[in-house]
């Protein structure tokens, strides 16, 4: 039952991502990539698509994976799954907001979760580094490959620009342009 599997997988992703957006990457990587629904490089490509289209990353990737795997109905199941946990939890929290805000249990959990998200995104980045710089496995040949250096330069530009708060769409367009230019020239 592919629809149920999509729904449950994204339900899990929706229920255990704290901090939104890219905090979701480690779980997506683990579940979606492990299911064979998406390659890691496709996930990286999709981050770019999601940054250049409106809406939250979580909904975008759920819709995309759902649609690729199970058509329109698959997209509905995956999106419903990723949205449902936050919807239900917020409804509950909205009813007893003051209690929730002062709860030492919630605060205690967040005390561990905030740094955990940093570590997990770090771990996702390590895998992304591998797909960007050594797409066909590590060998000394990558040091001779000019593509490695091109990627390094684009990466460095992207880091500097995004730390300077340049809009992600501009960074993606620039990276695409540099990719096309160097692809044809080199």
């Amino acid at each position: 039952m592919i629809y149920l599997e999509l729904f449950l997988t994204f339900l899990k992703i929706g229920a255990f991502t704290f901090g939104g957006g890219y905090a979701m990457l480690p779980l997506i990587q683990e579940d979606v990539v492990a299911h064979g629904w998406m390659e890691l490089s496709q996930m990286v490509d999709f981050i770019a698509v999601s940054e250049s289209t409106p809406g939250p990353f979580a909904v975008n990737i759920a819709t995309y994976v759902g649609s690729e795997v199970g058509g329109i109905f698959g997209a509905v199941c995956a999106t419903l799954g990723v949205v449902l946990p936050s919807f239900v939890i917020i409804l509950i929290v909205a009813g007893c907001y003051e209690k929730f805000k002062q709860s030492s249990i919630v605060r205690g959990c967040m005390y561990g979760l905030k740094p955990a998200v940093v570590g997990l995104i770090g771990s996702a980045i390590v895998s992304v580094v591998a797909t960007v710089f050594i797409p066909s496995g590590f060998s000394l040949a990558i040091f001779k490959d000019i593509a490695t250096y091109v990627s390094l330069v684009i990466f460095a530009i992207a880091v500097v620009l995004s730390l300077k708060k340049v809009h992600p769409i501009i960074i993606i367009c620039l990276s695409a342009l540099l990719g096309i230019l160097t692809g044809y020239v080199l």
Partner: protein, 189 residues
Amino acid sequence: MKQKLKQILTVFITFFKIGAFTFGGGYAMIPLIQKEVVEKKKWITDEDILEIVAIAESTPGPIAINAATFVGFRICGFFGAMFATLGVVLPSFVIILCISFVLEEFQHIKAVQYAFNGIRAGVLGLLIKALWTMYKKCPKNLTAYIVIAASFIFSAFLKVDVLIIIIGCALFGLISSVIISRREKNDIS
């Protein structure tokens, strides 16, 4: 009754607009919510917005969904929450659905492949920025550094299930915050 239906429809349209015009999602959405819901419609106040961000950060799920559900509920209860969430999700759902039908076709074009070679390196840069933003938001003390290191090592090298890491870190945070507050109480008494 008619009044309420009209209000729910307005909630839906407002959040549809917010969903359709926020690129990057999450925090990018907050200023737009502020403009539409606080300044124009006056449904909630600026303080509510701060509360929403705080809640969205300490509950699971995408921030945009959390915020939409919360604001919708504040304005007109359960159905408000439902239609606000539906409104915020619908634009990205439709757009991505359309893209998913054509993305594969595009990827056979040589120029698109070159473009994505560049884009992947660029996205890595965006992820580093996201990592930096998350790091800035997290507490700076020994416990936090231990959790960062542990979750990184367990996930990147030991390939432990991410779910187990998340639950483990939440428990660890809970226990260490209980110990810290006990110690503070003892110090006072």
